[in-house]
């Protein structure tokens, strides 16, 4: 595998690729990941809130079967392997984006895969909140919506930021797989050059760049969460 990695020819090809294709691939990866994470959070956050607030002892109990349905739906999506999910959501992608393949279209399966994950992360974060604080708000005459919007979510911001960071790095990993359905980005470069054309040097370069991206996102997220947390001062 390694005997032809460092030949003159290979290095030249890799440098060329680094100059011409990789900058755009980085941009595509970042843009798809960030956009998909944002959308997943927009859908996942309210669902996570519903899972906690809608419980029997929650601030706004939902009918038991509605909650069961929601839980089942989330579990169902969470159990489909991403590779299969990408193909299963083709009809949805066509409906929403107009096409099932290409970079833009990969946002649909990424969001579908990530929002149930975000919902579960949010659920876990909200459950960590001291129930006495919710009780105190109730004793002041807070409505269920006020408890959600002014107590539960704001009090959990640091842990929510941590969770969103975890979701972001997971989606970054998934986005690399989307090369299969024609999605662009570092994942596509790694697969196309490394897997199909045996140009391992380019594959390694793409993987290293992915690692660096994860590091940057993770440390930025952790820093933001720590900065937002007023308990640590």
């Amino acid at each position: 595998m390694f005997h032809n990695v460092f030949t003159q020819e290979q290095i030249e090809a890799a440098v060329l690729c680094l100059k011409t294709e990789i900058p755009f691939a980085i941009w595509e990866t970042v843009y798809i990941t960030v956009l998909a994470t944002l959308l997943a959070c927009v859908i996942g956050l309210p669902l996570g809130v519903l899972l906690v607030a809608g419980e029997k002892d929650g601030v706004r109990p939902l009918p038991a079967n509605v909650l069961h349905l929601l839980n089942g739906f989330i579990n169902l999506l969470r159990s489909v392997p991403f590779l299969i999910l990408m193909i299963m959501v083709f009809p949805l992608s066509r409906l929403l984006i107009g096409t099932a393949v290409g970079t833009k279209a990969t946002i649909v399966p990424l969001v579908v895969a990530a929002f149930p994950y975000v919902a579960r992360l949010v659920e876990g974060d909200l459950r960590e909140l001291d129930p006495n604080i919710i009780e105190a708000a109730q004793s002041m005459g807070a409505s269920p919506w006020q408890i959600v919007s002014k107590v539960m979510v704001p009090e959990c911001v640091p842990s929510l930021l941590n969770s969103f960071t975890i979701a972001l790095t997971t989606i970054l990993g998934y986005s690399a797989m989307s090369g299969i359905i024609g999605g662009g980005g570092l994942g596509k470069i790694a697969i196309n050059y490394g897997y199909y054309r045996y140009q391992y040097l380019i594959m390694y370069a793409a993987v290293i760049l992915l690692v660096i991206l994860v590091q940057i996102f993770q440390s930025a997220g952790t820093k933001m969460a720590a900065k937002a947390d007023k308990r640590l001062r």
Binding site: N132, M140, K150, P158, K230
Partner: protein, 335 residues
């Protein structure tokens, strides 16, 4: 002001019914400081949560200011709760908001304009003696300071009632005293009715006008603090007022009897009763235990004496001839 009528609360846990409160009847006068005291598990916290319907009673009614809280709609109850503020053992401040934001919180819930809320919050922080902590976060404050912020927050909606759920149990004795004085000042200057839930005898002694003793979910005794605390009649009351239940530990010979002398007011506490009895009646008694306490500004004291069975009647007759002195025989088995 607050009337609790025939209130019972049963929890169902794991298919078992647990009676947390049983037929509780309490009347709390407007402007008073009412103590509800009992040991852990007596049902104090459940009772205080029934007053603002955080816990729905299984049966019975709660009237606050003539309004039956059990009959209110969800929105009506939320409005009523703004009149019934509450402070807690663990303070329950919003950790991600600064002190000013915490005090503004109930006004925000009530829909008060921001500028007015901020102005009032600053006044309240000054009232609780923390004018310079507006921008501090709860994590930066000591326990006593946190409870002060919680008190300021509780006062934000001009409540008529302040419920204190073990509000000083997490504080050291010195800080406890400061917080209790603050609560008493608030009671006196703003005329707010205060309900204090506690297991600490010292808290009741310090501020309560009236007291109810809760044991096993029942009110076993209630009345003016000076009466109940000077001569508790119930076992639970005795356990609380005479910690360690000294009566049981004192060992005397089988033929000796014990009397508890109870004094009220300073005129009685200054009498040399035991010596007088020895001189005038020739009755010799041993002092087994004695103490005096100050209670809402009044002094009261108890002395436990041991004497011979033959002298018992004569001694009781002599002692009760003094004003503000009463006696009771202590008959618990001597171990």
């Amino acid at each position: 002001m607050i009337e609790i009528r025939n209130l019972s609360k049963t929890f169902i846990s794991g298919g078992l019914a647990v009676d947390a409160l049983h037929d509780v009847n309490i009347r709390i006068e407007k402007g008073s400081i009412f103590g509800i005291i009992g040991q852990s598990g007596a049902g104090k916290s459940t009772l205080v949560r029934c007053i603002n319907m955080l816990e729905r009673p299984t049966s019975g009614d709660v009237y606050v200011d003539g309004q039956n809280l059990g009959n209110l709609s969800a929105a009506g109850l939320r409005a009523a709760r703004r009149q019934i503020a509450m402070i807690f053992q663990q303070f329950n401040l919003l950790m991600q908001r600064d002190c000013l934001g915490n005090v503004c919180f109930p006004m925000e819930l009530a829909g008060l304009p921001k500028a007015r809320a901020v102005k009032k919050a600053k006044e309240l922080l000054a009232l609780v003696d923390l004018p310079d902590k507006a921008e501090a976060y709860p994590a930066q404050l000591s326990g006593g300071q946190k409870q002060r912020v919680a008190i300021a927050r509780a006062l934000a909606t001009d409540p008529k009632v302040l419920l204190c759920d073990e509000a000083t149990s997490a504080l050291d004795p010195g800080t406890t005293l400061q917080i209790l004085r603050l609560i008493r000042d608030i009671n006196e200057t703003l005329g707010i009715t205060v309900v204090v839930i506690t297991h600490q005898m010292s808290v009741v002694e310090e501020i309560c006008d009236s007291v109810a003793i809760l044991d096993g979910g029942r009110v076993v005794e209630q009345g003016p603090a000076s009466v109940v605390l000077a001569s508790p009649r119930s076992d639970a009351g005795k356990r609380l007022v005479f910690p360690g239940f000294t009566d049981r530990r004192v060992s005397l010979s089988d033929r000796d009897r014990r009397l508890r002398i109870i004094f009220r007011e300073s005129s009685a506490t200054s009498l040399p009763l035991v010596a007088t009895m020895a001189r005038e009646k020739g009755i010799i008694a041993t002092v087994l235990e004695a103490n005096t306490r100050r209670l809402s500004g009044d002094v009261y004291g108890t002395t436990l004496i041991g004497l011979q069975e033959a002298d018992l009647y004569e001694a009781a007759k002599f002692l009760t001839s003094f004003e503000n002195v009463s006696v009771e025989e202590v008959t618990d088995d001597v171990s």
